[in-house]
Symmetry: C2
Subunit: 457 residues, 2 copies
Amino acid sequence: MDPIRVISDYVRFPSVSTDPAFKQGMLGAQQYVANLLQEAGLAVEVVKTDLHPIVLARRTGPAEWPHVIIYGHYDVQPADPLALWQSPPFEPEVRDGRIYGRGAADNKGPHTVGILAVAKLLQRRPDLPLRITFLLEGEEEIGSPSFEPFLEKYRDELSEADFVLLSDTGSPSTDQIVVTTGLRGIAGFEIRLKGPRVDLHSGLHGGAVYNPIQALAEICASLHNPDGSVNIPGFYDGVARPEQWESEELKKLPLTEQSYREFLQVDSLYQQPGYTPIEATRYGPTLEFNGIGGGYQAEGSKTVIPSEVFAKVTCRLVPGQDAQNILEKISSAIRARAPKGVKVDIRVSQGNNAYHVCPPGKPNTPADQNPVLARAFAATVEAVTTAFGRPPLFLREGGSVPIIGDIKRVTGLDSLMIGLFTPDSNLHAPNENFEIAMIERGITAYEILLEKIAGSR
Amino acid sequence: MDPIRVISDYVRFPSVSTDPAFKQGMLGAQQYVANLLQEAGLAVEVVKTDLHPIVLARRTGPAEWPHVIIYGHYDVQPADPLALWQSPPFEPEVRDGRIYGRGAADNKGPHTVGILAVAKLLQRRPDLPLRITFLLEGEEEIGSPSFEPFLEKYRDELSEADFVLLSDTGSPSTDQIVVTTGLRGIAGFEIRLKGPRVDLHSGLHGGAVYNPIQALAEICASLHNPDGSVNIPGFYDGVARPEQWESEELKKLPLTEQSYREFLQVDSLYQQPGYTPIEATRYGPTLEFNGIGGGYQAEGSKTVIPSEVFAKVTCRLVPGQDAQNILEKISSAIRARAPKGVKVDIRVSQGNNAYHVCPPGKPNTPADQNPVLARAFAATVEAVTTAFGRPPLFLREGGSVPIIGDIKRVTGLDSLMIGLFTPDSNLHAPNENFEIAMIERGITAYEILLEKIAGSR
């Protein structure tokens, strides 16, 4: 099986989970990957959910065999704006050493790497003492609403596995792989303020009411201190500082403050005290404004005092912070800070804690409870070094993948995350692509890794 | 001529100046009002401009006759949203003692009151020793771009008049007329901030850059002091306090803080020190936010750090403040307050000073240079008292009518503004209407007023 053809054919199915118009594409992708897993030698079960089925594929075996769960998702983001694609999003094309197409990197390419590695390995070692469960969902891009109920339902079976292996994170390049050892949690909410019952003429009424935009600006401005820290009492309570080895590891990343500034095209970086800017994006908690709106926003001017305004905010959380607790602290601070004359409505949109796994063998690693995971981390170093020519870096990432926390909470399992897409892969954007060098090296690395986990190479 | 029919027929022409699709409506309204003026006994000249012509109509006479210019505009606002009109905007309908239709109150009804009063008066007094110039423009709703060039061109002729009479302001009801003695100036601008070159993923990059929404919120929050005053050095320099008689006059307005709060549906009013809330809307300067926008504003959440954000702001200015000077002070304060990491762009949209005329006979009136205007103010009290049963209030208004300042600057003429629409007239909104009682009483008042100005009743 030619990996480029296998991935290209998979990308051809427009499996956009958010849009009912793509029902056929969802079904096609699901059947395609189910077939791929069957050909690799696994027994496939399609688990119905309220929306898009989960593809569950098993290679069973004796209880003494190690058991790895490999996670991925067969759904993709919408492709628009279509006009910005150089080749059509669902007609994959190979250019400049990359497969271009929606879903190529997020996440069809990376989890196909796992499937093809398993297929090769089982062909070579039909007797391999390793239990493997593939778990491919179809709702990741819409927040995985069916995933937690699924975990609950299959809890007994899944909890018996040793750990979860996945590739849904990034690495800086095909020469430097990152193993993601943690993800930030997220606490999202919207602040809505209402002033007068309708938009008012700012000439006739200006000067007598608290302008809701002014009130919102004051509230938003109050959420940070001048030093860049978050100004919510108790926000930093229990925040775990990065370990010394984590700071050292981060310095090995091929990224300097200057190159980062140039990449972002800002004349100055800005971070809270106690972190370098690059540390702050991975190891520090944040409060970021994602959107703000109110009043007249079109061309020219319209002299109104708006009735309603809003801001959308998300905090990224680190180990030691509890999302619900943070949301309560922020809500009560905002309510206390809102001026008379405006009504405050705070709508929570999401709350998930950070996830963190400390790789065995690092300083301050907690006593290892999971020898198979410990072996897997060690094997990852060897597999990545062999396949990519350089050992991986072990870094926490700034983003949030809530399902990793769900898996930990429901089944108790930790995750080993190997980054296969790169900063140029254009995730969620036009011209998404997956590097062919990543496919080839990735299959080799997965093959070595899985064989080592089996413990009998 | 039945005034209701005359105004209804006028409203039937959809003279929307901003939309080229209404070219025929503009022409129809212009020809209709020109014809009306001719029938009233004036000599009509249609003055071409770059866009919509100005209708100039003259009743000439010996230089010793007083000379009044009556201003109005025959263009109207767009009618949308059409679905909210109870009867079609350009098919006028009489209901509940009002003529409903776009332009009925702004400004076709009010200036037709003037035309019909002149027609009646000249029929009764063909020998009336009064020069009258009507000046009806067709671009008021789009900012009067041709008006100042017109004033410059006709400066010599217009400057020889004694004053301008117009009805393009409001009164609280048909029982209480307000003569507007001043209008606030306006200084409008937009603040645009740019941070990183593109929207960033707030998980991967959050914590390392100055979020442009945060920067904008901090800048906007800095523009007021906690006591509600504007926090721009020099903003209040030279600000004229309302005269004692102006504060007394305002108390006669049928509006209390409680009824105002209930009308706006806010639990608290809010104003800068030194003014009551109702004074602040007419006699105080303001800085109001009209709009704000940036980042993700649609349903749900999208975790971005936006690249660009903006806020639209207008200040209302009082006598003693200079719009250009205020704009410069604000711009330099904002530039000084913007943090590193964001680029500031300030775009000025408009700048006009306040207008103020002190009615003769009031305390602290400057030595009267204009006996005809003095007679007109005195005649207004008598005319309004006779026609409406109660003397008018002399109040400044919070809105801005830049052409009044233009007239003063170019020709030196002051304006006498008699409010004929009411708060229920729905200007610029669906179901615009003009009260029939206002039409009848207004014609009577104008007739008495003009005859008194002629000085020979």
